[in-house]
């Protein structure tokens, strides 16, 4: 079967991601910004798919687009939009931001120009069929300790949220 991961799709999805990202910071209405962020995240999931990582793509859709962003929207929708539309936006640090962006972009270009040979000269052809199984054996075998620490951190965050939200425990 011919690979679907052609450069054409990469450019399409990368373009969607860029447009979405720009929309996130330029829209005045926070709900529009959040929706643009969702578009960006979905395009990112498609790029994961192109990298033969279907599991990561699926998790990206469930967690970010389906879970976290819905909670985001939830909060934003309860805020008075009219007032925030008239407010000045918090972009007084744009000079610092621009410098940081230029430096980061320069770094990327430098890496691309200097270290051409670290990039593979052809597309990867990993068999997609057992991606999920490989992720599972890695997570629960080789990287067990790191995985458990990450879940402990999340548990602490959950308990912290409950403690802060509840008046009387």
């Amino acid at each position: 079967m011919a690979p679907v991961a052609t450069p054409f799709f990469f450019y399409v999805f990368a373009g969607i991601m860029l447009i979405g990202g720009i929309m996130v910071i330029t829209r005045k209405n926070p709900v529009h910004s959040a929706l643009a962020l969702i578009v960006t995240l979905l395009a990112q999931a498609s790029i994961y798919l192109m990298l033969y990582a279907p599991f990561v793509a699926g998790v990206q859709i469930i967690l970010y687009a389906g879970g976290i962003m819905v909670l985001f929207l939830f909060v934003i929708m309860l805020v008075s939009i009219d007032r925030s539309m008239k407010d000045r936006q918090f972009n007084s640090q744009w000079i610092v931001g621009a410098i940081a962006a230029i430096v980061l972009g320069g770094l990327f270009i430098a890496v691309y120009m200097k270290g051409m040979n670290i990039f593979p000269d052809h597309a990867l052809s990993i068999v997609e069929n057992d991606n999920t199984q490989n992720v599972a054996t890695m997570l629960y075998g080789q990287y067990m300790f790191a995985f458990e620490i990450a879940s402990l951190l999340l548990l602490v965050a959950i308990i912290g949220a409950v403690v802060m939200a509840k008046k009387r425990i």
Binding site: M1, A2, N29, V31, H32, L35, I38, P54, F55, A57, G58, V59, I61, I62, A65, G66, G67, M69, V70, L71, L73, F74, M77, L78, E128, N129, D130, N131, T132, Q133
Partner: protein, 425 residues
């Protein structure tokens, strides 16, 4: 031209899904078939729901348009399409416009991986069940957008309720699904699968449907899913998002005409989608009843008569009711129509007795029959259960189903380990 025909024919006789075989033509054909089949199923479901609910409440239901109201859904569809499409002035135009499309997209895209048979699926993904849960969770987004963009109080409250409900029941649902996926790994290699076709094949290989596996653990997981899926689709008794007595119609109050019908379409196809997840995970997908207990050529032969016999039964019902129609000349067209419908069903039934047809169709038939049972359950719930209060709903989700799901998951894992390590080392 010859090349095209060769390309089309190259797929025939392969034992893969068109997506896995990479055949674009047949993938398109399957997509069209699924789309048409779903739309017909939604139309039929609309009629059945009104009719069955009516009979449960000792009413007749729609009787005027067509024999026994058979053409009522078509009349409804025409009415909806001809209605004026109103967008409130204060609404956020673009979001109001896109919300119904997102809900419909999420509800229909899911069917890409639904396995109607070992080869009858559009494609089989490595992450099948994850894809289904993920994409169907995107429909929350459409509902929230619709509720907010309407810029009105009832839709906003309805959308908030609905999304809170869907987000909380997704957790319990996910745990139930994980305990079923865990059961797929009980084979020689010890690796499970997320692919929808793989899950059904695991049930075939292990010789039992997962609902009966590790009794009663599989049954409890199935029960959790069956409750959570009603809440996920915002149906009675969990239809707080559109509680008529409190919120007029919930998140789609401001929608009318075509856009409203899109929400309607999405709701019913989402119901079919979650039912097919339940059928695939616990009820053996396309497998006929007792594939292992009553195996052998004779039983295979016997069960292959089932699809045709079912259609013939419905045809007989149609003829019976046509004979019972009032003899008044006003009813003549309706009687002829009902008899014609019966004749069509009978012809389909007879065609299903041809071995070449029945071999290809019976997988789809068993899958559809199992899904149809769930659809009937949905109507039954709606006819019999009173609506829950919102705090009861939340308590049920977080304090009953979630701990139960966690417990079942841990128990299933322990029993599976015991079975692999001790009983069958």
């Amino acid at each position: 031209m010859g090349q095209i025909i060769q390309y089309i024919e190259s797929y025939l006789g392969s034992d893969k899904t068109p997506g896995a075989a990479g055949n674009m033509f047949w993938a398109l054909v399957y997509i069209m078939l699924v789309f048409v089949g779903l739309s017909v199923a939604v139309i039929a479901m609309n009629w059945l729901e009104r009719k069955i609910l009516a009979h449960m409440q000792v009413r007749l239901g729609p009787m005027r348009v067509g024999p026994h109201g058979l053409l009522q859904p078509i009349a409804d569809a025409i009415k909806l399409l001809l209605k004026e499409d109103i967008i409130p002035t204060e609404a956020d135009g673009f979001i109001f416009w896109t919300a119904p499309f997102i809900v419909v997209l999420a509800a229909f895209t899911v069917f890409v991986v639904v396995p109607f048979g070992p080869t009858h699926a559009i494609t089989d993904m490595n992450i099948g069940i994850l894809f289904m849960l993920g994409v169907s969770s995107l429909s929350v987004l459409g509902i929230v957008m619709a509720g907010w963009a309407s810029n009105s109080h009832y839709p906003l409250i309805g959308a908030l309720r609905s999304s809170a409900q869907m987000v909380s029941y997704e957790v319990a649902m996910g745990l139930a699904v994980v305990s079923a996926i865990l059961m797929t790994s009980l084979n020689a290699e010890g690796t499970g699968t997320l692919s929808m076709i793989g899950i059904v094949q695991a049930q075939l290989a292990q010789g039992e449907w997962f609902i009966f596996k590790f009794f009663p653990l599989g049954l409890i997981a199935f029960f959790i899913f069956a409750v959570a899926m009603v809440a996920e689709t915002n149906r009675a008794p969990f239809d707080l998002a559109e509680a008529e007595s409190e919120l007029t119609a919930g998140f789609h109050t401001e929608y009318s005409g075509f856009r409203w019908s899109l929400f309607f379409l999405a709701e019913y196809s989402a119901m079919i989608a979650v039912s097919s997840i339940a059928v695939t995970l616990w009820l053996g997908g396309w497998l006929r009843p007792f594939p292992n207990l009553l195996s052998g050529a004779t039983w295979d032969q016997g069960f292959s008569f089932f699809p045709g016999a079912t259609f013939l039964f419905f045809a007989a019902m149609c003829f019976f009711n046509a004979a019972r129609m009032p003899k008044h000349p006003l009813f003549r067209i309706q009687t002829i129509g009902l008899a014609g419908f019966g004749a069509a069903l009978g012809l389909i039934g007879l065609a299903l007795f041809i071995p070449a047809v029945s071999v290809r169709i019976q997988d789809i038939f068993w899958f559809a029959a199992k899904v149809a049972c769930f659809m009937y359950l949905y109507i039954w719930y709606r006819g019999t259960f009173p609506r829950y209060r919102f705090d009861q709903l939340m308590r049920m989700g977080w304090k009953v189903l979630l701990p139960m799901g966690l417990g079942v998951l841990v128990l299933t894992a322990s029993v599976a380990l015991l079975q692999q390590k001790i009983w069958h080392p």
